[in-house]
Amino acid sequence: MRDDVEGKPLVEVRNLKMYFPIYKGILRRQVGQVKAVDDVSFTVHEGETLGLVGESGCGKSTCGRAILRLYDPTDGSVILDGTDIASLNTDDLRQMRTDMQMIFQDPQASLNPKMTVERIISEPLIEHRKGMSAKERSDRVGELMDAVGLNRTFANRYPHEFSGGQRQRIGIARALALSPRFIVCDEPIAALDVSIQAQVVNLLEDLQQKMGLTYLFISHDLSMVRHLATRVAVMYLGQIMELAPSGQLYSDPKHPYTKALLSAVPEPDPREESRRDRIILQGDVPSPANPPTGCNFCTRCPVAQPLCHQVSPDWREIEPGRFVSCHFAE
């Protein structure tokens, strides 16, 4: 944990909105929209790992994809190193892809089954490093395979011939091929066994140190994020509820949702575990197609007041570096 790292901002996300239209009926008229990401703003500093946590369906992955413009955001801007990715035309965007990459959740599905490892890793090089000779490319693939701990002799194999952990390593090598500065890790360990999870996380940490990478680490695994992240953002129903340095967020959560979420993490010590107070939230997450008025969390918040049902709370900085979206947090 490196709470003290405070590089200059690398990625600035401002009022990002990603709405998906809902079509219904014979004429497929648009009847509404799913607000998967609804007005999200945060900054990722150079060299840090920003953890993005939240329950299933809260819009974490959508947020990550919209930041890399794998979706076209409805509104808002994403500024990477002075360039607004959200409004770039397709050609310039393709050039920007060398600076930003993604590691995907499902290492099986995210690799083209008809391509060998060599093809998968070298394809971005063919596209973006036109000056490279075939020899240099194959050297680079070898280097990358070494870097992620894959045997070079596997270069001519197909993805299905690897185990889950190895496939994720291929995915990481692929993401690193163009030496990006910013990598969105979209639940890279969710599909892996626990023993393999640790290996992959350690690999990600090593690579970060060696190459000075900046991560946006999307996960629902609170303890893994605690281990890895410099700062953590907590997402609920398309909005960020709280953003704070990792240590402070885990020791002293401010937002009632963060408190409830953290109380769900089990304690390894059975005696501690039996004394643990769990905050059990009532009801279900509202539909993102029809979020409540006021605060998004008000329907399930244990401390909700009438104000919460009417007015949407501001995104405010209550302490330096600590942001909360709640009327009553202090």
Binding site: Q95, R97, Q101, F104, A109, P113, K114, E123, H160, G171
Partner: protein, 336 residues
């Protein structure tokens, strides 16, 4: 892969034997008399004599084995002899002959094959050339007007039978516009540019009738397969790599989508050899399909039996080829 192929080919032998027996039994049980088309003035004794010279007096099982021997041994030997100019054994064997024309069945088929291969084969190629772009664009622009148009095209192509489109084409393009001949002239020889143009002209209508029908099917397969693949995660990965949209679509999505479509096309190929019975009839293309009809009408059992058996063998063979192609195209599938 080689072992798999050899094993499958070995398994094909009993399958084909059973098929040949069933075809023979069905044809034998079916009503029909090779002398039925003779003039009424031919007396019954003569008819009986004709039947006995055709070997119809022999028991069923003997006739079956005789056919089997002629088709499996005599004809291949004859083929080898005539193509290498050598003589094996006595060299004079009783060939499998058609009852109606008294000429060897294999020669009849060889005569008819070029027309069928040209017309029906070309229609399959054109069908693929039409269907693949329609399928790709329909899937890429799902629910757009171009997709709706593609769907409309395939629904029409699929639901309107070829005998209707064939006649419609003749009425429009031959009778009203006079662009193409309505009858396919088999005796036409291509020797210069003009005769080549004429050959193209006379091929267009039968080819297009068949191509539209086949393209309708293949474009649906193509569209479904593309849609399947477009939503896959690896497509997002390809976009994240910063590839051109064209590369994403043609290299990543299309290549993966072609796997099931190629096997569908491979399974369609036996129909090329089978000829398009109805279409050949309409345009008077004297190909295999028309030969089969003639054989059925004349109760020409050796001809029908041989043709049907060849179709069966081709279907078995192309099933195997489709499986092998699948294994070659999809690295996840390995046969051993």
């Amino acid at each position: 892969m080689l072992n798999f192929t050899i094993r499958r080919l070995m398994f094909a032998i009993p399958t084909l034997l059973v098929i040949s027996f069933i075809i023979f039994a069905i044809l034998d049980l079916a009503p029909g008399d090779p002398t039925a088309s003779l003039p009424m003035t031919v007396p019954p004794e003569v008819r009986a004599q004709i039947r006995s010279t055709l070997g119809l007096d022999e028991p069923f099982i003997i006739r079956y084995f005789l056919w089997l021997k002629q088709f499996m041994i005599t004809e291949p030997l004859n083929l080898i002899e005539s193509s290498f100019g050598i003589t094996i054994g006595e060299g004079d064997r009783l060939r499998l002959t058609s009852w109606a024309t008294r000429s060897p069945v294999v020669d009849l088929i060889a005569e008819r094959m070029p027309q069928t291969l040209w017309v029906v084969g070309m229609s399959q190629i054109i069908a693929v050339l039409i269907a693949v772009p329609i399928g790709v664009i329909s899937a890429y622009k799902q629910y757009s007007w171009i997709d709706q148009l593609g769907t409309l095209f395939s629904m029409i192509g699929f639901s309107v039978p070829t005998f209707f489109t064939g006649l419609l084409f003749i009425v429009i393009f031959s009778v009203n516009l006079g662009w193409f001949p309505s009858i396919y002239d088999t005796n036409h020889v291509v020797e210069d540019w003009d005769s080549f143009v004429f050959q193209i002209k006379q091929m267009i209508m039968p080819t297009m009738v068949l191509a539209l029908f086949t393209a309708a099917q293949i474009s649906r397969y193509m569209r479904a397969s593309m849609l399947d693949n477009l939503n896959q995660d690896y497509v997002r990965t390809a976009r994240a790599k910063g590839l051109k949209e064209q590369t994403v679509l043609l290299v990543h999505v299309l290549r993966n989508s072609m796997i099931p479509v190629v096997t569908v096309i491979a399974l369609n190929i036996p129909t090329i050899f089978g000829g398009a019975i109805i279409t050949e009839q309409i345009f008077r293309v004297n190909g295999i399909g028309q030969l089969l009809i003639t054989g059925i009408v004349g109760a020409d059992i050796p001809l029908v039996q041989t043709l049907t058996f060849i179709f069966a063998a081709l279907i078995v063979l192309f099933n195997l080829i489709a499986d092998i192609l699948y294994g070659m195209l999809d690295p996840r599938i390995r046969y051993e």
